[in-house]
Subunit: 666 residues, 2 copies
């Protein structure tokens, strides 16, 4: 697999009209950020033994886990060694923002993933000063391995429904943790099964028979020396899943398990020795962590979609199939307009989602600072945004990722393409950290409230301000990005108004508010989606405008083409809504179809350049179809030959079963 | 796991207003068909050792294969033993039509699947009388195991692009099979890797340097005694995939491999000893097999969707989550209207697809009979229908199956739910046996042709006859199923007309016909879809009308509700098209939303009854979430405990890696 690069890819790269390197710098946030990222990737990936010789899909479930632990330890040390001590925390964060470095090592994620993603943030967000000092040191140095357990076998999104109890015993100054039923078992946390020895557990606190709400407890699960589960603690893994199989998701049950009083994390509420319960003044502070996780999810979607688009577009440039014209060779499938229709929107969406994530991230930082000053004014808006952005971007990314995969035909079905595994990671995000429909309905609740406020003339938060714009009849439609943004806002207003009318209708028929809400919920979700589409599109456009002024003209032009493609694509997808709620005409639609076809044509020569600019190393793509050199068929065969089944010409099952069977003896 | 049934499911079953048994008989095609199916299932599934003790997802790739071979042999013998000798072939076929019996044994399909699905049909369709007699006997008795190899590493849908050559050598009266390049390797056929010892190979025939097209050859791959690949034959498996991992998909390359002249299957073309080539008169006969396979795929989609709906709806009746009203217990998630919106359409779609498959099947039989008489008139229509029905039903089923899966939240992500694996089988159908976009464009070609014929007053085939209906302005819209069918036809006409106009536009700009076609192809696919939606809906309605007259009134009412749900669902989904091409008004839309919400409410009490009527045994559902008794949580835990990782409290990787790592020694 030496330097030779597929001829078609070479030609594609010559065709590209902009500077690929410049786009990479833009995506990373500057030359320095790109260099820092690349340096880290170089150093870590040169560690011997870190990459699998036999792809993990050939191992048994147990072997996969053991192999992942072997690599996790090695990967963590390599990351430590490779870290540049001169970089600021901010620089490190920027370098990590677009990195999928751990994907090169773990196709299906690391068994240590929860340490950084949940355990440490839980300590930071919920432990008091003294606790934080102690636990943070141990966790950061990996003296202990931790996870975070909230979800139970019978309980997910609805936190108040959790059954695990923590009963305070003032005599011994201990909490007694207990799982009263099977459905109370904690279920899902990564690394919980056999890896973690500590865990932050959310449980329902009772003092003197009185409920004190759901509180966090730091629980030691396993003996630090023997790793055996402590008495009163039942641990195990929950079994094989669609993805995340090397993450070691586990279950956890308690049998009257006692822990000391100081193991309750007491930043937001305290239990004194005598059992006095002190609630923190601002219970909204815990919202912060939830929003933070959702911002990270949105950003992750942008990165994964970029990876999927890279694989599918490089493959489509290499793959030749069917005949367009007699006597001409089979064309690259990327020349089929139907293929462009499936793929180019994935590039634009990755940009759109990435910029929205960055924007949401700065909003989050601003609101968090306000919160620290006791100002919670903007929290509801942030919450409503994080809910719908998480839901819509995970859902869009899942759909587009599958479309990219199937656009690679049968070869996209091979695990060596890595497309099925990436989809496994993406689709999980549709149900974890808030199931998408539940989140959409939370945003809908804010929207209905804002809509009613607008009716009574009250001021609205910035992203919902358009709800109070006076609509004087149907404004004239224009086929521009701004016109389309206006259109999507009109749709949102129309749908919210329709949903509100629907609620009223059911109320007037005698239904209680909850039933009326439930009966209108299909429309409420649609309203929420329309709002979110308006937000994503307007943010995408304004962030491109804000951040590209210093870029070269050819690159800027291409980036704007993607904005336009994104806007027109969604207009054509959501035509029913626009025809109902705006003045768009059949003529406008015909013109938009022309514009769309023209945009595909303009983007076509830059398609490979656009995905090259995502700058994923081959190890990170981890795909036979997506490698930089485009040697698709050689790689497919080379990977196939790694299957242990191919080590012998005749499998033992022939002698044992097939032969006697064919001879009629079985 | 004894008899106790979940209380909520018990209540659901009491609520059902129709006779579940009656619906089962209707779906099976009569009491007798149901009884035959059940008897076969009972007998086969009582075979000891046929069902896995340890779920196959815990095995290594190699172990999965070996276990599948062990079971395949046993399953085949059990099927032989269980077969009722008194049943006619027709009765057997009817009993098999809705059966997913082999799914109870193979979550990921059988390594013998290709014997019946492709190898034997290839012999029947392509061997001459003498050949057929010889090979059919050997294949039917499983004296040999065969497969069918067409697709190559570099070539799929486009058959003329195949690179494998068969060069006739008149001196020795042999064909020389050869793979001139890596991309010429056969790639994908099930059982090819290590199971089959014979294979029907499609290769490009050359005689005296002259191409004689793609022809079928019966090739022995492995020695019947030792199972070693014959000289000049390279075999192996293609590696792990998203699904079908126990099917043993393989690759096959030839190095100047010689076979005797009589190994070419000569029904449709002959090579005489001296190298004279005789082409068969009717080369269209081979279309038959392709259409047959597509009919089977459509039927398979109906069955798989029924399976998915059963799992998701039973789980939604058992699962309780969140709060609708204060002080009330968490409701069954099936009571959320958003959940009903996701699930009920899956039931209706399974019925719609099943009836369309049966209808297509009788059309296929009629056309096949005509073909035997030399009448090929209706073949183009059959072909156009099979193309778009295969594409739309596989795509819809894939989408709905994923929606059902995610509607089960995190637990749908567990492999023990079986939902991920079923999706793996379904989504494969979107790219195999004709990639969906390619198929949609084939139907589009027929539609454009028919549209042009209609313009010039020529008569059209029945399913396209509506293209010639004179539209006098926009007809008045009615919110009835018939009105909706008319509407979808109008949309199809509008979209075909728009696509044709688009082609003309590009032609007038100087593009050649092929480029103009390509540039219009996004719209052509949309036109094809609109046509297919009209066909599916009208067939669904007319087949329900035709087949339900003897049913009891309560059942008929429910079946018509599903028809209505299906019609209204798709109207609301495709509103943009309808608003553009029909006279549907905003008022109609508001009313349709009301109707839709009312239908969900009407179907709600019968939801569990509707899926119970699919009558899948627990072994066939193979799902912790879907079992008849609804003991979801007990089953989830019981399955988890089967994971080999749970056999030991401490995994060896702790001592080897984790402990030294946490102690800072690694």
């Amino acid at each position: 697999m030496a330097a030779k690069i597929n001829e078609d890819l070479l030609k594609e790269r010559k065709k590209c009209v902009f500077d690929v390197q410049e786009l990479t710098y833009y995506l990373d946030g500057g030359v320095q950020a790109t260099e820092n990222r690349r340096k880290l990737e170089d150093r870590v990936l040169s560690t011997k033994g870190l990459l699998d010789e036999i792809p993990e899909e050939y191992l048994s479930h147990k072997e996969k886990y053991e192999n992942a632990i072997r690599k996790a330890v090695m990967f963590y040390r390599a990351m430590q060694k490779a870290a540049d001590p001169n970089l600021s925390e901010q620089d490190k964060a920027t370098a990590a923002y677009r990195s999928l470095l751990s994907s090169a090592v773990f196709k299906d994620n690391s068994p240590f993933a929860l340490q950084l993603a949940m355990f440490i943030p839980a300590i930071v967000g919920q432990a008091d000063e003294e606790q934080r000092k102690y636990w943070l040191k141990r966790a950061s140095n990996f003296e202990i391995i931790g996870t975070y357990a909230q979800t139970e076998l019978g309980h997910g999104t609805f936190i108040r429904g959790l059954e695990t109890t923590a009963t305070y015993d003032p005599k011994t100054e201990e909490f007694i943790l207990h799982s009263p039923t099977l459905t109370a078992y904690k279920w899902w946390p990564g690394s919980l099964a056999h890896t973690a020895n500590y865990c932050v557990v959310m449980a329902h606190l009772y003092i003197n028979g009185k409920s004190c709400g759901i509180q966090p407890f730091m629980v030691q699960l396993r003996d630090e020396d023997t790793h055996l589960p402590l008495p009163g603690i039942k641990l195990g893994e929950i079994g094989a899943k669609l993805g995340f199989n090397t993450v070691n998701n586990g279950f956890l049950g308690f049998e009257q398990h006692r822990i000391k009083r100081d193991r309750m994390l007491m930043k937001n509420a305290q239990v004194l020795k005598d059992g006095t319960f002190k609630r923190s003044l601002n219970s909204k502070l815990t919202y912060g962590t939830m929003v933070y996780v959702r911002v990270m999810i949105v950003n992750g979607m942008a990165n994964q979609l970029a990876r999927v688009a890279t694989i599918a577009i490089r493959y489509s440039a290499v793959r030749r199939q069917s005949q367009l014209k007699p006597d001409e060779p089979e064309p690259q499938i990327l020349d089929y307009v139907t293929q462009q229709h499936k793929l180019f929107i994935a590039i634009a969406s990755s940009h759109a989602i990435s910029l929205n994530a960055k924007w949401l991230w700065s909003l989050y930082n601003r609101v968090t600072k306000d919160l620290e000053k006791g100002n919670t004014d903007d929290l509801p808006e942030l919450h409503a945004l994080a809910c719908c952005l998480k839901a819509v971007t995970t859902s869009d990314t899942a759909t587009m990722s599958e479309r990219c995969r199937t656009s690679c035909g049968g070869h996209g079905y091979m695990l060596s393409s890595n497309l099925p595994q990436i989809y496994g990671l993406i689709t999980a995000a549709c149900t974890y950290e808030g199931e998408n429909t539940v989140l959409m309905l939370q945003t809908a609740r804010s929207l209905v409230k804002a809509y009613e406020q607008a009716q009574s003339g009250k001021p609205l938060s910035p992203t919902m301000a358009y709800l109070s714009e006076k609509s004087t009849g149907k404004q004239k439609w224009t086929n521009t990005v701004d016109g389309i943004i206006q259109g999507f806002r009109k749709v949102a207003v129309g749908k919210i108004s329709a949903a509100v009318a629907c609620i009223k209708k059911y109320r007037s028929k005698g239904f209680c508010p909850e039933d009326a809400w439930n009966k209108s919920s299909v429309q409420l979700v649609a309203a929420s989606e329309a709002h979110c589409r308006a937000v994503i599109l307007s943010t995408y456009k304004s962030e491109v405008e804000r951040t590209t002024s210093t870029l070269s003209e050819p690159l800027r032009r291409v980036l704007y083409q993607l904005v336009e493609l994104y806007a027109v694509y969604w207009t054509l997808e959501k035509l029913g809504d626009l025809l109902l709620y705006t003045s768009i005409s059949e003529g406008d639609v015909l013109q938009l179809r022309d514009i769309y076809e023209e945009l595909l044509e303009k983007i076509r020569p830059n398609a490979v350049g656009l995905v090259d600019a995502f700058d994923f190393r081959d190890e990170i793509l981890n795909s036979t179809l997506g490698a930089y050199d485009g040697r698709v068929y050689e790689r497919l065969m080379a990977e196939a030959l790694k299957s242990p089944l191919n080590a012998e010409p005749v499998n033992q099952s022939f002698h044992k079963y097939l032969k006697p069977f064919m001879q009629g003896k079985l």
